[in-house]
Symmetry: D3
Subunit: 150 residues, 6 copies
């Protein structure tokens, strides 16, 4: 069990994008859209929770390196059957930020679940996945291309 | 935006069970099973990360109450196409532990992703969902039954 | 240096209310009201930051007891010359929640400062103070009355 | 809601100084000075709490970047009508440390309040404010000058 | 890997006492006693760090339950060859606080090491151990007696 | 009380190695070796807890700088009379990682204690100590040599 040594890697600009989809009842979607969730503004809370969780990634994912993050952006968009979440994390460090992006997307989704669960306990968080990473020795990876393209 | 007041609710024994499925390449499954992941013992790390994340839920999910947890168990099981995770959280408190169970399951999955990502960036975390909750005013809910049966 | 022993005190319902005032330029107030702050929705972020900080109080205030909180509410209201913040924290525990209310109000104010500081570095956080506490051996205290009234 | 991208900014030496004033009863000031506060050494606790809180700023202020800090100093000085706090934070990073300095000053003040509150619940935290920042693209700002002087 | 379920145990008053001994050079002891350590008041910092670490125990010890603590006291005493640390933690909960006491004693010792290490890197933390626990189903244990005496 | 300013130091590769020894009953050693500890895999948990604690050092040791770590490794080895722990931490920063290595070793030991304490409350954590540090202005120090050899 080790946090692998990245000291010999170069500091380079790195980006990771992750997405998640939270499936919910049409009535729940409507309640969110119309601002009728008692706990408050669901989308604002989800975005902020995502940003904050990105910063806590090394506490949540045991072997993840603690690094400085240069930017985090979390978007939550209405989609057919639920809400789509997209998290973008940037750094200029010796290791990538895939885990930060995945953690941000997940935390945003869990926050929505929490705020709406009294209405819809059956919501399902589907398809949390990396969409893109770039920078660093392993180069660019994108879900569409499905492979490293240095 | 508020953490709703649960002071008038009763302290009762409460349980929540959440599950998650992490889809991966057959080669990744094999590498985990054969202990060939360089970062260490993936299943042990995932279980421990899940337990620790359950305790950090109020830091990750903004409107979640900070409460004492009486027990947390995280299981990771090989399944067709990937690994299945199951988290059980118990408390004797004024509010439920659904978010703790979902957070534990998610953190366990993200930990596996982190330890195997250099081989398989395309892994997808599918179907994070509540399976069961019991205790408290709203009674028992189970995914199969799909409704409260107080 | 000690966290005083409260084990012999009774678990009772306790409430604390704290307020803060953040003085700012009229142009900053206008920019917030009109949603022109680049970092996002200032009031939603401030409220959420306040709720989350209440939960972290024992990490920030060294001799403060770690306890379960039953409810937290943070309001941010436009006022003459700036924004007024009001945080209400509730518990059913052996010790009061004055520090949690003060920490919530302060964190909400610092969050507003952070989001607007590129426009207005001169903002001043004035008059962070306890307004009311009730419950527990020392009874009710209110700023207006200025004394315990058991 | 986003943590703005600072990846293109340069790493430069940056300093921020914040101050706070905690108004209290003359009897409270005397009790602190004479070491009669039951919870322990108030000034030492306040200074240490301020340093520790500076490190936790990204957990408290949602859109604040997590960065390495190169130095933190917190002073607490007796003043007419209360205690004056001054926090100095330094870094060599892509973003400033104003929020760290403000958070340190505030946490020091809250710690004093906590240790003395059983005697003096009416204490008021007045005038938490930035005094100076230097370094970075926006240059030097000082409260006296009241403007950037690149 | 599980945090064992303590939900069926009774809430009872529990105490744990742990001790530690930090061996150091006579010159280091003298520098501490005479207040010549550049980083500040070593004993005050150690006591405060111990109290704060007790609260963080569930973050540091993975299978430790998150519980409310009713009191924490940390003492640091000059002794032959170094400093002796004694941490006492109390709770009224379903599980004991041995880990909290051991963590507090250890953190206090590490804090002293940190503040004096530029003078004396060879300091050794010896004999971190439980001295006493009482309360709960397993009753009282004391190092001297060496056995449970329910 | 201050976190001393290291802004003028150079970023260089630094390593620290710390060790600890946890003395226990022969029966406890056997139970660990044979995998009969009810809470789970003790050695895996200890290693992971050590890695995670290294990342939390600035939260536990008050005047310790928050920095990026480039690698952490924790080993736990059976030894005569107990278990020996060895933690290696690496960074490329302006300050050393002795405290991170000592904290990792200690947290690993406390985790073992926690998992076995129902069988063996008398375990003693002996000889937590720095073995080696290299890098930075003060150069290399090793316990054997006992002195800096720049």
């Amino acid at each position: 069990m080790q946090m692998v040594d990245v000291g010999a890697k170069e500091r380079t600009a790195r980006v990771a994008v992750a997405s998640a989809f939270l499936r919910m009842l049409p009535a729940t979607q409507r309640a969110i859209r119309e601002g009728r969730i008692e706990k408050g503004d669901v989308l604002a809370a989800a975005r902020l929770a995502g940003v904050m969780a990105a910063k806590r990634t090394p506490d949540i994912v045991p072997l993840c390196h603690p690094i400085a993050l240069s930017g985090v952006q979390v978007e939550v968009m209405p989609a057919r059957g639920g809400l789509r979440i997209r998290a973008t994390v940037k750094t200029v460090e010796r290791t990538g930020v895939e885990m930060e992006a995945l953690t941000a997307a997940t935390a945003a989704a869990l926050t929505i679940y929490d705020m709406c669960k009294s209405r819809d306990r059956g919501m399902v968080l589907e398809a949390v996945q990396l969409e893109l990473k770039s920078g660093g020795r392993s180069g660019t990876w994108s879900r569409k291309a499905g492979s490293a393209r240095g």
